[in-house]
């Protein structure tokens, strides 16, 4: 009963990995099936169950990463959503924090709010900052508002009242009323989504949650039903933005925590490989059909962000300036993303300039060369024309690449109007795609003062291995790693993660009120809350690792530092019960806080200043059961193309077209010079002329520049 399935849905491809009870890895890649994304997942799982002869009820877990929710936000295709606020504050959502994301741009357009003003309604009620009820909820008014929402056919409701992070009674009261008055309409209450102070951040996070909730829950219900039809009754676990899994029931209600689901899994997989190789510093590059994403692993640690902005052009969590998009205060892996993937469409603008993306041909109609109705040229078409991607059947025969269709698209739309030959035009598309992708790579490296020369670039995603070496050369990385199964890497990442839940309590503790008893009381409550949740999901208390952290600042500051309260990471509940906090905990916390403050900012602030704890957080993790996975035991049959030993590929004006050796990954032995093309099931790795490649003992392709 240890067969596990990881399924990653991207804009273009859906990747499924199955690890059987012997640890063997089976894979299947199919085109995504918008708008019914679950269909491709079900087709692929069905295929793998048949191929491995596994009965559905032998599957012990299905881990899933999906971009369904984030796409709904980016494309403004979410539910018809309303927002209820305290009287006087319906514009908090649209005013945001007033900031603009950059200086000196007079034409910057503030993105439209997800809930228009006419659907933001004010409730007569008010709680004070200390929990005093200044004005009770006007229930008869709430009834009128509910009637108005019904008349508007609202599909989802967010409620965010002032001070509900600590005093949620009014939100609960309204939630109860709406459940009666609007049966079937999901209601997201801000204190349940994000019980933290700061009304804009809590409102925005709750609104995004409400906005994607009907889509996400509908999607998950259909997927669950389809898996059931394959006799898979195992838990369906969804990847969260912060890199842990959560059961579908939770993701359906709090989808804002799984918004960055897909990208997170790829970074986790990269972290896993980097750990195996003992590589401390890695820039990850994940190029899929629609976007390219970069993130940083530094000294072995994945970079996390406590909040991010969804839909900002270049989302990079830790940057100074906010205001570019709705602020989601949910932890995530820190990823910079640009709209530049294999499916990105190349076109001429009005001034005759060549542009690539951000529009993507996606899975449908797809790149012209897939012959599924696409006529406009994409980056993938350019890569086919350049000889980087082979003709013929790809991905277990699901897709067939037609060189002639690719040439025709590049010729009609680019080469002919510009009066250039097809190869030059294709190379232009490839290079412009690279220049766009470079923005994401720079955002996580040079723009943060990191020198790319000190980092290894790990390229994955269907198109990552095609572009990685060229980008690394430009960026200045000396080494590139293309891991096994690069095109299914995110699906693999789903299987190295375990279930994870977060619980948080806002507080304001300083001076005498900040004592061991107070912290212990909160930790016990949060611990109990998590244990209930995990037990409900079928985990035993002794399977869990618990970690407690607090958000601390000097009294009077507005920004906090997160400090771990455990000396040992990941205690069990019994260990916690046996070792309650003592006054030494507080002393150690103070010492750790002051030294972290000094490390970060170079000073200890005034020595008389009190420390203040503003939130206590407990994270619970259940083991993934991943154990060791050997990606080289991949068991599926390997479609190795049309058997050519060389392919004509273009490497720019200086080298021109070269008869380039084509090999499989397993045939890569010793050190081989570029140019070289390494074809495999799910991707092609391009080794440029100035580089050389070898295969390490774990099966990774390692490219180095001379």
């Amino acid at each position: 009963m240890t067969t596990r399935i990881g399924a990653d849905v991207g804009g273009t491809f859906t990747d499924v990995v199955l690890i059987d009870d012997k640890g063997a890895v089976w894979t299947h890649k199919v085109l995504s099936s918008p708008p019914n994304f679950q269909q491709a997942v079900l087709d692929a799982t069905g295929h793998l169950l048949r191929e491995t002869n596994t009965p559905g009820d032998m599957v012990s877990a299905v881990a899933h990463g999906t971009t369904v929710a984030t796409n709904a936000v980016l494309e403004h295709r979410g539910a018809h959503t309303a927002l209820l606020t305290t009287r006087g504050f319906r514009d908090v959502l649209e005013l945001r924090r007033i900031r603009a994301p950059q200086m000196y741009d007079l034409f910057w357009e503030k993105p439209a709010p997800l809930v228009e003003r006419y659907l933001r309604l004010e409730v007569n009620e008010r709680m004070g900052a200390n929990g005093e009820e200044l004005e009770p909820v006007d229930e008869s008014q709430v009834r009128e508002l509910a009637a108005q929402l019904r008349a508007e056919n609202v599909e989802s409701v967010a409620v965010c009242l002032l001070h509900s992070y600590a005093f949620p009674q009014h939100e609960k009261q309204i939630g109860k009323l709406l459940a009666e008055l609007l049966p079937g309409v999901p209601v997201s209450l801000s204190h349940e989504i994000l019980p933290e102070r700061l009304e804009y951040e809590r409102t925005a996070t709750t609104v995004v949650n409400a906005y994607v909730r009907p889509i996400m829950s509908g999607y998950l219900a259909e997927l669950r039903g389809g898996l059931g039809a394959q006799s898979i009754e195992a838990p369906l676990l969804i990847m969260q933005s912060a890199g842990g899994l959560t059961p579908e029931q939770d993701a359906a209600v709090r989808p804002v925590y799984v918004l960055e689901s897909g990208p997170a899994a790829g970074v986790l997989a990269a972290g896993f490989i980097a750990g195996q190789l003992g590589l401390p510093n890695v820039i990850t590059l994940d190029v899929g059909g629609t976007t390219a994403k970069a993130s940083l692993i530094e000294e072995g640690r994945i970079a996390y962000s406590p909040e991010y902005e969804v839909g900002a052009n270049l989302s990079a969590g830790n940057r100074l300036v906010g205001g570019g998009a709705d602020r989601i205060r949910a932890p995530s892996i820190d990823i910079a993303e640009v709209g530049s993937g294999g499916g990105s469409i190349a076109a001429l603008d009005r001034a005759g300039g060549l542009r690539v993306g951000p529009q993507s041909a996606g899975a449908l109609p797809g790149p012209a060369c897939y012959g599924r109705g696409g006529v406009e040229p994409t980056v993938t078409d350019a890569n086919v024309v350049l000889g980087y991607i082979r003709e013929g059947k790809l991905a277990n025969g699901g897709v067939s690449v037609d060189m002639e269709a690719a040439r025709r698209a590049i010729y009609d739309y680019i080469a002919k109007p510009l009066g250039m030959d097809v190869l030059t035009a294709a190379e232009g598309v490839h290079r412009i795609a690279n220049a766009r992708t470079m923005r994401a790579l720079r955002a996580v490296s040079t723009e943060r003062g990191r020198d790319p020369r000190e980092f290894v670039l790990m390229g994955f995603g269907g198109s990552g291995p095609v572009h990685a070496a060229g980008l690394a050369y430009e960026l200045g990385n000396r080494r590139v790693i293309v891991p096994p199964l690069p095109g299914l890497f995110s699906a693999f990442g789903l299987l190295v993660s375990g279930v994870e839940h977060h619980a948080v309590r806002s507080c304001l503790l300083s001076g005498d009120a900040l004592n061991a008893h107070a912290l212990q009381t909160i930790r016990q409550e949060l611990q109990a809350q998590l244990l209930t949740q995990f037990q409900h999901e079928g985990f035993r208390a002794d399977e869990l690792n618990l970690t407690c952290a607090v958000d601390v600042r000097f009294l009077g500051q507005a920004s906090e530092i997160r400090i771990l309260l455990d000396t040992v990471m990941g205690a069990t509940a019994q260990e916690w019960d046996a070792a309650p906090f003592t006054e030494n905990t507080i002393k150690a916390l103070y010492a750790a806080f002051v030294s972290e403050h000094e490390r970060l900012y170079g000073h200890r602030s005034d020595k008389d200043n009190l420390m203040q704890v503003i939130a206590v957080r407990v994270v619970g993790r259940a083991h993934s059961g991943a154990g060791t996975i050997d990606l080289n035991t991949r068991a599926s049959s390997n479609a190795s193309g049309n058997g050519n030993k060389t392919r004509r590929a273009y490497f720019g004006a200086r080298v021109g077209v070269a008869d380039t050796p084509v090999i499989t990954r397993s045939a890569l032995s010793g050190t081989m010079p570029g140019p070289l093309l390494i074809d495999e099931y799910d991707s092609t790795t391009v080794v440029p002329p100035q580089a050389k490649a070898k295969r390490d003992e774990l099966g990774n392709i390692v490219i180095e520049f001379a």
């Binding site: 006087g88 504050f89 319906r90 514009d91 908090v92 649209e94 005013l95 945001r96 924090r97 007033i98 900031r99 603009a100 950059q102 200086m103 000196y104 741009d105 007079l106 034409f107 910057w108 357009e109 503030k110 228009e116 003003r117 006419y118 004070g128 900052a129 002032l162 001070h163 992070y165 102070r197 700061l198 009304e199 804009y200 940057r319 100074l320 300036v321 205001g323 720079r442 040079t446 723009e447 943060r448 003062g449 020198d451 790319p452 200045g476 304001l508 000097f554 009077g556 500051q557 507005a558 920004s559 403050h597 970060l600 900012y601 170079g602 000073h603 602030s605 005034d606 008389d608 200043n609």
Partner: protein
């Protein structure tokens, strides 16, 4: 020496990133609402000669303050600048901007050689003076603005000058906040030093110096190329502040912008003489604003370095409101900066009509409430209320966005109410306040504060009640500001600029100005008018009156026939 392109680009990005890191350290360790929430501060790095090589994404208006501050620093200390020294300044007549802005400057050395300076400038909550918060429009001389520090050494070779700290503690109302923010500024400088040392360790000192200096020349080249691409010409504009802070006025700002070749001159001759109230601007501040405006209409991304100023010539006669002399008060000069910005943009619109926006809200309103809590602890609640944009040549003004002159933020209501005896009772848009136009000006914002305990001083700095934000090319002005004090006896309209007191239970209402419109309102797309009606951003009445659009009040659809009639082109008339 010459440096390869990749290294140069990395160093330049790393410097910009260091400026941002300094900025993050500053606001994350600061204590006052004006710095930690409203973000009224800036950070930068200069080369060894004090020329700016990077600025954090903070207040554009502080851009030009660094050169004149560094110039007086060198004049005063010459060679007496040593490792471990830290300098402090807030005197506007010694290179500073106004009393509330404290400069902290730390020289950065590498093996005994001076290679750079880290600079931080923060608006302080209180530096003593006549009223809580120091800033008051009706201050009439600098001595009322507060404690004045010409350039001093706060640290001498690593050792703090306790005398300065002692004097500061004795002269400000809330020493732990003022000193806490000074420590935050020191933290920012420390981060800047660490970043520069990291860069030098990695690339060597010569490479660092070459890259830093190249970035200044590069900026100048970019800006000159930008200016050269404009048509030669000259354009004048006049705008006003309603009054001088003491009820007199209006205060005139006049500029003539002349573009010739790859240079640009801004001549403020004809502007009002220096005024009695506290809105007098230093030349350095006026120059900052001009640079910000030029930078904003430039079409290229230009690094924020000293190279920005080289193509610009600023003429401002001494003794005017845009170049004040002793003993002018200047604590509230921010509003003058915003108006200088509006005036310069107005003039630039004559040269570059498709790149300039109509006037926005006219700058932040400051509301300062100072008193004692129930436990007798003192507080100063310093609120910086921003902002909304004027309409643009091809789109509406942004509703509710900080003025392009300063990257400010609002104070979260839940944070304010947790820390201060103040309750915010309303915060939102006001319909029918954006100037009508083919493109609509941004809506005004209103906010209400109720005092919950005791008595308190209240200072308000606002403007743009009579001289409302202008529209362009047929666009209408935005609606002007208003301040109302609501007490037992009813509502009392307060002047735009006032220092007074309020009691528990009383409520202050402020409405910012709306942005100006752009183009003929009757040319506005009718469905946009209907959308604004549906969203309560304009009324049905205004739709008909200002835009000639008749909207059905139930369906919010455009009544095409009635609209054609209202717009004076009934069917068949063509």
């Amino acid at each position: 020496m010459s440096v390869d392109l990749i290294t140069r680009e990395i160093v330049q990005h790393a410097l910009a990133a260091a400026g941002d890191e300094m900025a993050v350290a500053l606001y994350r360790t600061a204590y006052s609402t004006i710095v930690r929430d409203c973000l009224d501060y800036s950070t930068s790095l200069t080369n060894a000669e004090g020329e700016m090589i990077a600025q954090g994404v903070t207040i554009p208006f502080h851009l030009g303050a660094v050169p004149s501050a560094m110039e007086t620093l060198f004049k005063k200390f010459g060679d007496d600048i040593n490792p471990g020294d830290v300098f402090i300044l807030n005197d506007p007549f010694d290179g500073g901007m106004h009393i509330p802005d404290i400069f902290i400057v730390q020289p950065i050395f590498w093996e005994d050689r001076r290679v750079a300076f880290a600079v931080s400038t923060a608006h302080h909550l209180d530096l003593g003076g006549r009223l809580p918060g120091s800033s008051a429009c009706d201050n009439t001389e600098i001595f009322q603005d507060g404690f004045r520090m010409p350039w001093l050494k706060l640290y001498r070779e690593g050792v703090a000058d306790e005398a300065i700290f002692t004097l500061l503690r004795a002269n400000v109302r809330l020493p732990h906040l003022t000193l806490g923010d000074i420590y935050a500024q020191l933290a920012a400088c420390h981060i800047g030093e660490r970043a520069i040392h990291d860069l030098i360790r990695r690339y060597g000192v010569e490479t660092f110096i070459t890259c830093a200096n190249d970035s200044i020349a590069y900026t100048e080249r970019l800006l000159r190329a930008e200016i050269a691409s404009w048509k030669d010409g000259s354009s004048s504009f006049t705008d006003y502040m309603d009054n001088d802070g003491l009820g007199g006025g209006p205060v005139k700002i006049h500029v003539t912008i002349t573009k010739k070749g790859d240079g640009l001159t801004a001549d403020f001759t004809g502007s009002s003489p220096q005024i009695r109230g506290a809105m007098n601007s230093t030349l350095s501040f006026t120059a900052s604003v001009v640079a910000m405006c030029v930078r904003a209409v430039a079409q290229q991304d230009i690094p924020n370095t000293a190279g920005m100023f080289k193509p610009l010539t600023i003429i401002a006669p001494p003794g005017t409101v845009v170049n004040c002399v002793m003993p002018a008060a200047s604590s509230m000069r921010g509003v003058t900066g915003f108006r200088v910005g509006d005036t310069v943009f107005g003039a630039l619109s004559g040269l570059l009509p498709d790149r300039v926006l109509a006037a926005g809200e006219g700058g932040n309103t400051l509301v300062i409430i100072g008193g004692q809590r129930a436990d007798e602890s003192r507080y100063i609640f310093y609120e910086l209320m921003a902002g909304t944009w004027g309409a643009r040549p091809d789109r509406d003004g942004n509703d509710g966005l900080c003025n392009p002159g300063n990257v400010a933020a609002n104070i979260p209501i839940e944070q304010a109410e947790t820390e201060y005896p103040v309750r915010v009772e309303r915060y939102g848009y006001v319909p029918d306040t954006g100037g009508a136009g083919k493109y609509r000006g941004g809506l005004a914002i209103e906010r209400e504060w109720r005092l919950l305990h005791g008595e308190a001083h209240l200072a308000i700095r606002s403007d743009r009640r009579e001289y409302a934000p202008y529209g362009l090319f047929g666009g209408k002005s935005g609606r002007g500001t208003i301040n109302i004090l609501k007490h037992e006896d009813g509502d009392e309209v307060l002047p735009t600029m006032i220092s007074t007191s309020i009691k528990a239970g009383e409520l202050i209402y402020h409405r910012l100005a709306g942005g100006g419109g752009f183009g003929d309102p009757f040319a506005r797309a009718t469905e946009l008018v209907a959308r604004d009606c549906k969203n309560g951003k304009i009324s049905m009445d205004a739709a008909r009156r200002e835009y000639g659009v008749v909207v059905n009040e139930k369906t919010f659809e455009v009544d095409e026939a009635a609209t054609a009639h209202a717009r004076g082109n009934p069917p068949g008339a063509s």
